[in-house]
């Protein structure tokens, strides 16, 4: 029997890693990720998890140790946040380019300076082009489910890419919610034993990580891109198989009460749950609104997104990150780009808020929807709008 327990997202992710029977964990503590490595270290110390826990001396080394462990065929897990992900940055690219299916939790955190341990999506956006499969979680059940799913999809021989599971620092990482934990035999049915086909062994010497001269580098990178895009089929298949076993079905793009809605709000991560309440409130008042939760961030779900928003007049995209001097928030600029060639497409309005742990309450999302609708009606020249920022914000023009 599966059981329903109270867990914060950090413990839910650690529990998923335990049930996945990970072989190697290498991690370095950073707020707000600390509860994940702490819990895993405790499990190893208590014999609940038969794994090697490597208490490395930096995040750069955390992911580097994962590269080594994955190269010999170990199921490998790590977790970090904010500055830790930035310190890992070059290793992040190597993990995907060398096709090591490492699973990494990111407890999303703002980037310095000024130092902030609190949540936003700046860390995730800085690695968006690094070739990892990336999903965002709405709640703690997601945190468990996506972690388990990440191993299944990343390790699929048709995929062999690392997976980042994002959940918001503090808003999820440190908040207890009910989580349904499955039975081990169900997990084992969903997640077969990891058999890395290119493991380093003296029996069959292989060279991993030879350098790419100009006459081969381009082909290597394009091959990686083709394989990465193809992984979307397995990603969707993985969601289906997960649902068939555990009863919870996930999708790359998840509409909420969007039928016939003229105005859509798009959010990622834990804010989607708050935004849903704003949508409910507005629906009750008879307004034509709906929500899109963008779960799969990479590979970007172009078809699914275009399909989900094609009938709307206005699409309000909410970003928790600034792209300094760029075309609005990173998510909104990607969505504008994704929709540009579509014949039927909504007008996109970009909002930025929720930076460095600034909370967004239900009424704030109601404000965003009202403002977004007004901007489209009036026609605005601003590249993006801000919400919840004190003082007048001017001069954000293209």
């Amino acid at each position: 029997m599966s059981k329903r327990v109270g867990l914060e997202a950090s413990f839910a992710a650690a529990e998923a890693a335990r049930m996945a029977d990970v072989d190697v964990i290498a991690a370095y503590p950073i707020t707000p990720q600390t509860h994940i490595p702490e819990r895993l270290a405790e499990m190893v110390a208590d014999g609940e998890l038969n794994a090697a826990y490597i208490p490395v001396e930096s995040e750069h080394s955390a992911l580097s140790a994962c590269l080594g462990a994955a190269a010999v065929g170990a199921r490998t897990f790590t977790a970090t946040a904010g500055q830790g992900l930035e310190l890992m940055h070059e290793v992040v690219y190597v993990a995907s380019s060398m096709r090591y299916p490492i699973v990494m939790t990111i407890c999303n955190r703002a980037l310095s300076a000024p130092l902030s341990v609190w949540g936003d999506h700046s860390d995730a956006m800085a690695v968006r082009d690094a070739g990892w499969i990336q999903v965002f979680c709405q709640n703690n059940q997601d945190a468990f489910d996506m972690t388990l799913w990440a191993f299944r999809v990343g390790e699929d021989p048709r995929v062999l890419f690392p997976v980042m599971v994002h959940f918001d620092g503090f808003h999820l990482s440190h908040v207890t919610e009910p989580v349904i934990l499955p039975e081990q035999k169900e997990v084992d049915r969903f997640l077969p034993r990891f058999q890395y086909p290119f493991a380093l062994t003296p029996d069959k010497p292989m060279t991993h990580g030879a350098f790419g001269p100009p006459d081969i580098y381009s082909e290597a990178k394009i091959a990686q891109e083709v394989a990465f895009r193809k992984s979307k089929d397995v990603i969707i298949q993985g969601f289906k198989e997960f649902g068939d076993i555990f009863g919870r079905y996930y999708h790359p793009v998840e509409p909420y009460r969007t039928e016939g809605a003229k105005v859509l709000l798009l959010t990622m991560g834990s804010f989607s749950e708050t935004a849903k309440i704003a949508i409910d409130t507005k629906k009750n008042k008879g307004e034509s609104v709906g929500l899109i939760n963008l779960r799969l961030w990479r590979p970007f779900p172009f078809e699914e997104l275009c399909q989900a928003v094609k009938d709307a007049e206005t699409l309000i995209v909410f970003d928790r990150c600034i792209s300094f001097g760029g075309p609005g928030g990173p998510v909104s600029s990607e969505i504008r780009s994704a929709l540009y060639n579509e014949k039927e497409r909504p007008r996109v309005v970009s909002f930025i808020g929720g930076l460095g742990g600034r909370d967004m309450a239900v009424k704030d999302f109601e404000y965003v929807i009202d403002q977004g609708r007004e901007i489209v009606e009036k026609g605005s020249e601003e590249l993006f709008e801000t919400v919840g920022i004190r003082g007048e914000v001017t001069g954000i023009r293209g």
């Binding site: 072989d23 190697v24 290498a26 038969n50 794994a51 090697a52 490597i54 208490p55 490395v56 001396e57 930096s58 750069h60 080394s61 955390a62 580097s64 140790a65 994962c66 590269l67 080594g68 462990a69 994955a70 190269a71 010999v72 065929g73 170990a74 490998t76 070059e90 290793v91 190597v94 060398m98 034993r193 380093l200 062994t201 003296p202 069959k204 010497p205 292989m206 060279t207 991993h208 990580g209 030879a210 350098f211 790419g212 001269p213 081969i216 580098y217 290597a220």
Partner: protein
């Protein structure tokens, strides 16, 4: 541990080559020779993690490779961490019965920059955590692969492209970082220095380092004709002079106990080592005397450590 390892006679060194021909090392490269000998000492049951650097670049242009043993390169500064993951991965997979139990040596290979500069943090972490691995530092005393830029392993007075000798400078103005002593300070079971001019000594030390349980470190002096500017047929002689002048003494530290492997009754003057090399050509007598004095002091300190354990 003495006596456990037999001396390698000429006919007893394996004829197997684990680094294949067709690599792109410079003519007369001391490092290539040292690598060849080290790999013979290790045999085929290894996994090698190689930092970015001369060895990596000269042996692995896609789509070909010189490596006949399992080999991985990922980045420059992370070799200590990467080998930690390899070692921990193998150990747990064997413990969990996912892989048959066997002895596979985990060996990290890096240059002096990858070790004593950018890779030191990751290496220090791996030493401190006491992973079972051997780390080989091939020291050619500068960033040779990128064009002879100074590192912390560059010796005092050497001219490099980023610390060039000029009207106002003698080149490198700091003494060489003593990486072997930094390894000793981590309280690991085996540390040694080696030089390919003494091939059997090098083979013995690499073999010993591979067999020790826990971290082992062998610092290999690797003469570089391109960067040090000496004729390409002098690698062996330059290595010998480094040892015989006391500039690079050959010693071992087993469980903290020091032992000098080559101990001449009288050191040769450092001038004999410095003169053939273009990188030291600008040094005047006063600077050479200063280097002599420093070598004398360092050698005396080393002898004192050896003497501690002689009784």
């Amino acid at each position: 541990m003495d006596g456990k390892f037999i001396k390698f006679g000429k006919n007893l060194v394996t004829t197997d080559e684990f680094v294949a021909e067709g690599h792109s090392f410079c003519v007369g490269c001391g490092e290539a020779l040292a690598l060849r000998l080290a790999c013979k000492a290790l045999g085929k049951d290894v996994i090698i993690a190689n930092a970015t650097g001369c060895i990596e670049i000269c042996t692995s242009p896609l789509p070909v490779t010189s490596w006949r043993v399992p080999w991985i390169h990922t980045l420059f500064e992370n070799t200590g961490a990467e080998i930690s993951g390899i070692e921990a991965g193998l150990k747990i997979l064997m413990k969990k019965g996912k892989m048959p139990e066997r002895d596979i040596k985990c060996v990290a290979v890096a240059g002096d920059g990858g070790t004593s500069d950018i890779g030191m943090q990751a290496l220090s972490g791996a030493f401190e955590r006491k992973h079972d691995f051997l780390y080989l530092c091939f020291d050619n005393e500068a960033y040779m692969n990128t064009g002879i830029q100074r590192s912390s392993a560059t010796p005092y007075g050497a001219s490099t492209t980023t610390a060039p000798a000029g009207k106002l400078s003698i080149g490198q103005t700091t003494w060489k970082k003593n990486m072997a002593e930094i390894a000793v300070a981590h309280d690991i079971p085996y540390v040694a220095t080696a030089c390919p001019s003494y091939p059997f000594d090098l083979i013995n030390k690499v073999k010993k380092g591979g067999e020790v349980k826990g971290p082992a470190y062998v610092h290999i002096f690797s003469p570089c004709p391109t960067g040090w500017r000496y004729p390409t047929d002098l690698a062996i002689e330059i290595g010998r002079l480094a040892v015989e002048t006391g500039i690079f003494p050959l010693y071992e530290v087993e469980n903290g106990r020091y032992k000098l492997n080559i101990d001449r009754p009288k050191l040769r003057p450092v001038e004999e080592y410095l003169k053939p090399q273009g990188r030291f050509r600008h040094l005047l007598d006063g600077e050479i005397a200063k280097i002599q004095e420093h070598v004398n002091e360092e050698y005396a300190k080393l002898k004192a450590k050896v003497a501690c354990f002689a009784a």
